[in-house]
């Protein structure tokens, strides 16, 4: 029934109302001998009530008058005339007419009340659905999509366009259905997305050729949709602004953490250097040559340390600003690791290094200098935490045709499970900062470099130690590692 247009529904109401009346009349006519007149009058009220309930006041009143006439014609003597002999019957007839009309009006009013209650409930449900779907949505695109989808569904619209005009950005539009061709006619409804702060955009709705109008309730609902959408948009924008402010605050916070870490870290080697140099320069003390040598070696070490710190800071700022672009070329991992080990030989004196890189490991597409940095940092970290006279294993294996896996394993203490992911964060330390030297940047630099290479890095506790693992892709721009032709020895 819902698909009928109001006018055909109107006509159908009268026709069906009349049919109901006719059927009642036929049945009562057949039972005329059995039933007495007041009972028949009472039974004639049935179609009046039913028709009003189903078809509204018009058909109800029509039925009331038809029943009045039918009752008079078929059931009041003399039969088959509209004349009335007995004054008693006349009273029955008049009372019948009054009762019938009153009933139809009462039923119609109840019906209308029910209909508006249903409509209000529908509206409330729609609004509830809309606000539920909008709750917690922070993305303005998603908000607009929800509002548009709800509008197109609720109002059975042909097309909905939502235009958003943010204060500080380009205006943009969302159209539903997505693949609909533009319509030539103007939209039937244009509702602004308005909040207390101003207009954020508008909803344009094409209802469709057949039912271009909106009931007052529907119009109100559409306006409520618009204001709900506008409020959600405003909330999302405010949250975004707040998030930006928070990010800025956080980066400020990081910067001050960096500064305090840096000044602490820079000052300790400087303090050592200053103390050593001033001791050597003071004329009061006659230094033994071994003590002199010791002090000078300290100065040398500390300047190297300072140099590393500055290098780490530079690398970190490069990673943060996205300027760390690896120059990937085909390299041999063994050569890179060998170079690092030779360079830090002095620092590794108290540990054994065990290198396990197979001869037939393919060439890997990496930035030589950056990979040196990764191995340097991972080995240095292991040296720092693993007790003396333990072994640090470095192994590399081809995991499959596209991935290489590398492990730097030491016999150091385990790291609590909850710290495992966070040790790659900037300035993150498992132990108190004053017990271990470094910037707290080494591992996050490793992470930055490995990720820039398209790999992954993680740490794990082992039954007898601790391990850093990372992967590296074996393809460079889709090409597999090259192999070189073997040459025979002629010389």
């Amino acid at each position: 029934m819902h698909r009928l247009s109001p006018s055909s529904r109107f006509i159908l109401g009268y026709i069906l109302g009349f049919i109901t009346f006719a059927i009642t009349t036929i049945i009562l006519y057949l039972l005329r001998g059995v039933l007495d007149t007041p009972l028949i009058a009472l039974l004639f009220l049935l179609p009046v009530g039913i028709n009003t309930a189903f078809w509204g006041l018009g058909p109800g009143i029509l039925t009331a008058f038809s029943a009045f006439l039918g009752f008079n014609y078929f059931f009041i003597q003399p039969y088959y005339t509209l004349t009335v002999h007995h004054s008693r019957d006349l009273i029955v007839l008049i009372v019948f007419l009054i009762v019938a009309v009153v009933i139809s009006q009462l039923v119609a009013r109840a019906q209308a009340g029910l209909a508006s209650a249903t409509a209000r409930e529908r509206e409330a449900t729609k609004l509830y659905e809309l606000s539920t779907s909008l709750a917690g949505v922070q993305d303005d695109q998603a908000i607009v999509r929800i509002v548009a989808a709800e509008a197109i569904q609720t109002f059975k619209a042909e097309r909905v366009e939502v235009t958003v005009t943010p204060a500080e950005a380009q205006k943009w539009q969302l159209i539903l259905p997505v693949d609909a061709a533009p319509l030539t006619r103007k939209p039937e409804w244009t509702i602004p997305l308005q909040t207390a702060r101003g207009i954020l955009g508008e909803i344009r709705l094409w209802r469709g050729e057949s039912t271009p109008t909106l009931e007052p309730i529907e119009e109100r609902l559409l306006r409520t949709f618009a204001s709900q959408g506008a409020m959600a948009l405003e909330r999302a924008w405010l949250t975004q602004t707040e998030t930006r402010a928070k990010v800025l605050e956080e980066s400020d916070h990081l910067k001050s953490a960096l500064l305090s870490s840096v000044s602490h870290e820079l000052r300790s080697p400087l303090a050592t250097i200053k103390a050593s140099i001033t001791s050597l320069r003071s004329g009061n003390v006659q230094w033994k040559s071994s003590a002199r040598e010791d002090l000078l070696a300290t100065v040398d070490d500390e300047t190297d340390h300072l140099n590393r710190l500055v290098g780490n800071l530079l690398d970190m700022s490069r990673i943060e600003s996205g300027a760390l672009k690896p120059q990937r070329q085909w390299n041999l991992l063994a050569e890179i690791i060998g170079g690092v080990i030779s360079r830090i030989r002095k620092a590794t004196e108290q540990h054994q290094l065990d290198l396990d890189v197979p001869e037939d490991l393919p060439l890997v597409p990496v930035d030589y200098v950056q990979m040196e940095q990764v191995f340097d940092n991972l080995i240095s970290n292991s040296l720092k935490y693993a007790p003396p006279n333990t072994t640090i294993h470095i192994s590399a294996r081809k995991q499959n045709d596209t991935t290489l896996g590398v492990t730097v394993r030491n016999q150091g203490p385990p790291v609590p499970q909850e710290h495992l992911d966070r040790i790659f964060d900037k300035f993150y330390r498992v132990t108190a900062a004053d017990r271990v030297t470094g910037t707290g940047l080494g591992l996050s630099i490793c992470k930055g470099i490995i990720e820039a290479h398209g790999g992954r890095i993680w740490a794990e506790n082992l039954p007898d130690g601790f391990a850093f693992n990372f992967t590296l892709p074996l393809n460079l721009d889709g090409a597999p590692p090259p192999t070189l032709p073997v040459e025979s020895e002629t010389i």
């Binding site: 063994a334 690791i337 060998g338 080990i341 060439l363 200098v369 040459e487 020895e489 010389i491």
Partner: protein, 231 residues
């Protein structure tokens, strides 16, 4: 050399100039200093030095240009000073005609070693080349194509020999990837650093005592290789 070598230091930092002047004078070099590129070029033209130590970051004209302009008229060795993480700069300076580089901060022993190598190399360019190079237990006899490790002869492939010959002829000097590739494989293969990686590994296996920790063929990260022999 009858007189002590003359070194021109071009750097804009007064502390570095002061330290270099003190240290190099102590080591019996004649030292001239300049804190601007143009000034350095003028000084070099007025009184040609035996060697130039050049900082790449100068306030007026950059170090690359100083290199290029020196190379227009002289082959005196140039050692450039640069900071860490500027491998491209180092390679660019070497391509512009610099002979070697040092990364700041550097130890003075390192600097003196580079200076000695550069001076010897330029002397060789004027005189004759050494043809038999000794490095540890290695003996490389270039004209006779014979390489010995102790008393045992080392068999090399044709490419390995070309590679070693080029390295050994430039003992102590840094050679960029490109220059090695062009000399040994030809200009068409100038970008194939993987050839270098693989052949260097083969050479090291045949020549080095511990190929994982080489003493003769050293990798200069991001720049190239350097062959170290007895001084």
């Amino acid at each position: 050399m009858s007189t002590s070598p003359h070194i021109l230091v071009i750097d804009d930092e007064p502390q570095i100039l002061r330290a270099m002047r003190t240290i190099l004078t102590e080591k019996k070099f004649q030292v001239t200093v300049a804190n601007r590129g143009e000034e350095g070029l003028t000084l070099a033209a007025a009184n040609p030095p035996d060697l130039v130590i050049l900082d790449l970051g100068l306030p007026d004209i950059d170090g690359f240009e100083v290199c290029a302009r020196l190379r227009e008229w002289t082959q005196i060795p140039i050692i450039v000073l640069s900071v860490r993480d500027s491998e491209r700069d180092k390679v660019a300076a070497l391509d512009k005609g610099a002979d070697d580089y040092l990364t700041k901060p550097f130890g003075i022993e390192e600097l003196l070693a580079r200076v000695r190598v550069a001076l010897r190399h330029s002397a060789q360019l004027q005189g004759g080349k050494e043809t038999v190079i000794k490095a540890g237990e290695l003996i490389i006899d270039l004209p006779r194509h014979v390489i010995k490790r102790g008393s045992a002869e080392v068999k090399l492939t044709a490419t390995e020999f070309k590679l070693l010959a080029y390295l050994a002829a430039n003992t102590g000097r840094v050679l960029t990837h490109q220059s090695i590739l062009i000399h040994v494989w030809g200009p068409a293969d100038a970008d194939h650093t993987e050839y270098l990686r693989v052949y260097m590994r083969q050479l090291r296996r045949k020549l080095e005592v511990d190929p994982e920790r080489p003493q003769y063929i050293l990798t200069e990260p991001g720049v190239g290789y350097r062959f170290m022999a007895d001084e």
